[in-house]
Each structure stands twice: as C-alpha cells, then as structure tokens.
C-alpha cells in the first residue's frame, strides 16, 4: 500500500477526456516522477491531488484517507505540500516570515487567533525557521523582502516553506520550468540534498527528462490522460511505448 493511492480516476471536460482510468501508487520515501508530453493530463492530475478538481469517478487516498472534496488547506494539513510551477511566495513579507508562516501552520493548525503573542518571541518557531533557512543556504537573506529575490532564490524559498512543514508528501509541479540550465542543475542539487538529509516522499510532475532521470526512483508515463507505463527509470528510457508517445516531441 503506497502513501498515495490513485484509483480509477476519470475526469472529463465537456467532450475531452482529460484523465482516463488513472491508477497510480506512490510508495513512501521514494521520488516518483510523472512525465508525459504536453496535454497528457499531468496538470489535471495534480489539481485532483491537491483538491482543486474533483474527479468524475475514482478515488484518491492519501495516508489512508480520501482527499477528494477537501479544501487545499485541509489537504495541506493532512501532510501534502506543494511547490508551484512559478514560485508562489509571500512577496510583501520578509524571507524569514515566509518560512515562519508554515511553521505556525504546522504547530497551530489551519486557524488560531494568536493575536497577542509576538512573532519574534516564539523562540522555538523562529529557531525552526532559521534552521531551515540555514539548511537551504538562505539564512543571510532572511531580512530581505521576498519579492526582491532572484528567481532561483524564490524557488529555494518556496522549497524551504514546504519542507519546514515536514510534509509526508511533497508535490512538485515542474519545478524547473523556464529555468536556465545552471538554475535547473542547482534545483536538482537542492532536491538531491533534501532527499539525502531527511526521509521524504516526493511526487514530481516534470517535462524535462534531465531532471526526471537525475532524481526519480520510479516513473509513471502519462499520455492522453492515461498511464502508459510505470517502472524504474532505467527501464523507462528504452521503453517503446514511451518513445512512441514522445515521438516528434522536442526533448530539452
């Protein structure tokens, strides 16, 4: 039984079958990549996983509980954190505050009227956040306003915000999309480092094969809304079905 179990999920938009009979199982402590050409249904699948879309049929079980019909904040509280295609951070807040917020969310749940405590007096929380910033090598930028960061730093910060919650599952939505090669490599290194320093389960939706084969321990190939193959990376590379699906597509 995997940490995340997707069973027979179907989703239609009008006449278009976006997802057809998707079955997927993400095992604990693995990096599981979901790949496929454009329009294969990767984003739709992701939106189902985070509660943004409700499938027509099928079930999504995370850690023994269904995620269907739950709001994004509830799903996060269950232990799923999400990294967006373009980094979603609190631009008006400082880097440190960006990390403090998930710390509070983890400790206090989805709402607490802590209007009379002082943020800076919550030593354990501040320590936790600063430790995380140290881990991702951003501690010296902690007082900068987040919107002034470089794109790479924003990605790093977003990653820190997710990791500090110690999620059971980290969802990454094309974390290197639009990045230059050097930045992509940095991100890969960061993810490898994270993977090496703590037990974590990751599901990566990715287009870039380089990233996928650098990180993934298990790969699912999606085409036209249906999983073609699920296997270890080395078996995927030469798989005829995959080549067929990607034929004519430009690899990066």
């Amino acid at each position: 039984m995997g940490l995340l179990e997707v069973k027979n999920v179907n989703k239609r938009f009008g006449g278009l079958q976006a997802l057809g009979d998707v079955n997927l199982s993400v095992a604990e402590n693995t990096v599981h990549a979901i790949i496929g050409p454009n329009g294969a249904g990767k984003s739709t699948l992701l939106n189902v996983l985070v509660g943004k879309l409700i499938p027509d049929t099928g079930s999504v079980i995370f850690d023994g509980q269904s995620v269907l019909g739950r709001k994004p904040h509830e799903i996060n509280q269950m232990g799923i954190s999400r990294v967006f295609q373009t980094p979603e951070i609190f631009g008006d807040l400082t880097v440190l505050e960006n990390v403090l917020i998930p710390c509070f969310a983890r400790r206090d749940g989805s709402f607490k009227l802590h209007a009379f405590e002082t943020v800076m007096h919550e030593r354990e929380i501040v320590d936790m956040a600063e430790q995380m910033l140290t881990d991702v090598h951003m501690i010296e930028k902690r007082n900068l306003q987040a919107s002034t960061l470089s794109r790479g730093d924003k990605r790093r910060l977003e990653m820190a915000m997710c990791l500090v919650q110690q999620p059971k599952l980290l969802l990454l939505d094309e974390p290197t999309a639009g990045m230059a090669r050097a930045d992509t490599n940095n991100t890969i290194d960061l993810l490898k480092e994270i993977k090496a320093t703590r037990p974590i389960t990751m599901a990566i939706i990715e287009h870039d094969m380089h990233v996928v084969f650098s990180l993934a321990e298990r790969i699912t190939v999606l085409a036209q809304g249906t999983p073609l193959v699920e296997d270890a990376p080395e078996n995927i590379k030469g798989h005829p079905k995959v080549q067929e699906a990607y034929l004519g597509q430009s690899h990066e």
């Binding site: 904040h73 996060n76 979603e88 609190f90 008006d92 400082t94 505050e97 917020i101 802590h114 007082n143």
Partner: protein, 399 residues
C-alpha cells in the same frame, strides 16, 4: 516595554506623550492672536481626533493588513452609537455599559456583514460592504425611525426611564459620567494669554485610544497579524500552506468592526446623539481616506490621517471672510481685497475644495501617505548614518 520591541516602544511612548499633552500642543497660539483661529485644543475637537483615531486604527487592521477595502465601516460605528445611546436612555448615564454594548453590538453586526461579504474579494467585497452600509443608513433614516429617531438622530430625553439612574436633574438631562465623574468637566490652565483646557471626556477617550493603539501594535507584531499580511500578499500560497484564510479575514473584519463600535460608543459618550448620517457611505469613505492619507498598513498613519481630516473639517470651515479681512488688514486696501478674494474659495464654505486638493496632492506626491512624508523628511536628516539597515529590518514589515 509591555512586550513591545524597542522601536515600537518608542512609537508608543511618543503617541502617549502626544495624546497626554494634546491640550498644550494643540493650542500653540495665544488667545486673541490672529492665529488663535488655528488652535485645535478645545475638548470637542480633541475628542474627535482620538475617537476617529480609534476608528481609523481599527479600519487599518482590516485594510492595512489584509488589503480588503471595506466601504461600509461607518455602519458599525453607527450601530455602536445607537446601541450606546439606548444604553444611556435605558440603563445609566455611566458610559462604561454604553461603550461595552457599543463594542458588542458592532461586533455582532460585523460578524453578520463580514460573513456574507468575505465570500467575495476585491471590488466585489467593497461593493457588498457598501451595500450593507447604505441599506443600514437608508433604513435608519426612514423606516427604523422608532428605533433610531431618523433624521434628527437618537438622543436623550427628559422622560427616559434609566433604570440605574435618574431621568432628570433639575429639569435637565444628567451629563454622561464615568463612575460619577462628569465627562463634561474641564480644568483650565491660564498661562499669560494662553489658555489650556483639560477635559475629562478627552482623557477618557485618550486612554482608550492608547489601549486601542497598543492592541493594534500587538496585532501587527503577532502571528495573527503576519497571517493577515500574508492574506494580502498571496492567498493561494496561504491556502496551500495549510491555513484557512476565511477565519483570519473574518476575525480581522470583526476586530475592526469592534474598533468602529468603540469609536461609536465614545462619540455618544462625549455627545449623546447618534445621527444616521454617520452611517452614510461618505462617512465610510472618510475613514478610508483617513487611513490612506495617513499611510495604510502603518501603525501611526491612520491616527495622523484622522486628525488631519478632522482638523480641516473643523478649523477651515470656520474661517469666514470677516476673519480673512482681519488677517490681511495690515495690507493696503486693494491688495487686501485681492488676497481675500484669492483665499476665499478655499476656506469657510469652500473647505471641501481644500480637502479635495489635499487628497490629490498627498496621493500624487506621497503614495505612502503622511507617514511617508515623515519618513522622507527623516531620511534627509539620517543620511549621515548609512548603516542602520540591519537593525531596522527586524521591524520593517509594519512600517
């Protein structure tokens, strides 16, 4: 101090000093001098400064932190006022129960309005709050006249029952009091031609404003305040960080509604009349203007903005041609007339024009409001100290 960091403590002590010494600071010109016209140190206006300060501080907790622009906050001030007057009519002239009920009723009303309005965001939220407030105003002015006394406004009568007090004293309505201390009492201090008035009601309001200001600092520095700023910055991320934005915004809405109720309660404690106009959309617009003019999202800005607008309203509107002629009497006749002619449109009945121009100038040249103006002046002086950045950044967010 009181759990505030150094910078906030300094700010708080500054505000403490300003409010406590207001009778001196606002009366800088001696009686009888031409400039005495600009003195603002009389009880009514000083009370208005702090009461509208409270109102704006509360509004800033919602607008400055979450970015939700409510165009209906005057409604909470209005229902607070009505509740307060009813308490004084029915129960006692001691203002404490009146103020408490004002806060409670305004809080409950804001739960209702906030719960519905916060289902939408952006301008749709603004229009929803505007709609609620305008409905409250229209109904209070007309069909709710039995409760609100409509056009005239709800006021005390000689035959009010007043269970824990007397209906009348010598054919007069007893003045509002704080445990027997009449809020209308004033002490006067004369120093040469300077006269300073120390009014009980003002000091009660001032103390409550200081408490309100202190609470607002605490909220700004609290995790809750940080969440509210996060709402303004990126709601999507906040949701995906496991936080439910709705109760946060609702809590901010209700807190600011209660501030408005407190302001409404204090208004009737100082002057027991609740007029329907204080719920009109222009009154809601006024608090928006106060907040933005002073500097939205800053701690002290709303208080400055409130004082600025109330000063304009009460001082400029009273300057008439007669006074102008007195001012410029030293000039040769022809020039005097020209100057009076030129100044005339901007004062007295033209004070709205001055106000409108001020808004435009401040918004155009000082987008961060009066606080930004202050900061710019401060920066001119602080140029010499280049490296204060690392220390300042800790408190940066709220400034």
């Amino acid at each position: 101090m009181f759990g505030l960091n150094k910078k906030d403590s300094v700010l708080f002590v500054l505000v403490l000093f300003l409010t406590m010494c207001a009778p001196f600071l606002l009366n800088p010109f001696p009686q009888g001098s031409e400039l005495a016209q600009f003195n603002a140190g009389y009880p009514d206006l000083m009370q208005r400064f702090v009461i509208f300060g409270i109102f704006a501080i509360g509004f800033n907790i919602l607008f400055g932190l979450t970015g939700y622009l409510s165009f209906g906050h005057a409604a909470f001030l209005g229902v607070g006022s009505y509740a307060g007057v009813w308490m004084m009519k029915l129960l006692t002239m001691n203002v404490i129960p009146a103020i408490m009920i004002s806060v409670i009723v305004a809080g409950l009303f804001s739960v209702l309005v906030g719960y519905v309005s916060l289902r939408r965001s952006g301008i749709y939220f603004s229009i929803l709050t505007l709609a609620f407030a305008q409905m409250s105003f229209s109904l209070a002015y007309s069909v709710l006249t039995p409760i609100t006394n409509g056009e005239t406004g709800l006021q005390l009568n000689l035959d009010d029952p007043r269970i824990l007090g007397v209906s009348e004293v010598n054919g007069s309505i007893p003045p509002p009091n704080l445990f027997g201390l009449s809020l209308r009492d004033s002490a006067e201090m004369t120093f040469g031609n300077w006269v300073f008035t120390f009014n009980t009601g003002y000091y009660m309001c001032a103390v409550l404003m200081l408490i309100a200001f202190y609470i607002s600092i605490r909220i700004f520095r609290s995790p809750f305040g940080m969440m509210l700023r996060a709402v303004k910055s990126n709601q999507q991320r906040l949701n995906y960080t496991g936080l439910n934005t709705k109760p946060y915004t609702l809590a901010a809405f209700v807190i600011s509604g209660m501030y408005a109720g407190l302001a409404g309660g204090l208004m009737v404690a100082m002057d027991p009349l609740a007029g329907a106009e204080r719920m009109q959309w222009t009154a809601s617009g006024e608090v928006v203007l106060m907040t933005i003019l002073g500097g939205a999202g800053t701690l002290i800005g709303p208080v400055l903005g409130a004082s600025f607008i109330k000063y304009c309203e009460n001082i400029f509107s009273k300057i008439n041609d007669n006074i102008l002629h007195q001012w410029f009497a030293f000039m040769p006749d022809g020039i005097e007339d020209v100057i009076v002619f030129l100044v005339h449109p901007f004062v007295g009945k033209g004070w709205h024009l001055t106000l409108g121009l001020m808004f435009m100038l401040v918004v155009i040249f000082l987008p961060g409001g009066l606080v930004e103006g202050g900061q710019r002046i401060g920066r001119l002086f602080r140029r010499r100290k280049p490296d204060a950045a690392s220390d300042a950044s800790q408190t940066k967010p709220a400034e």
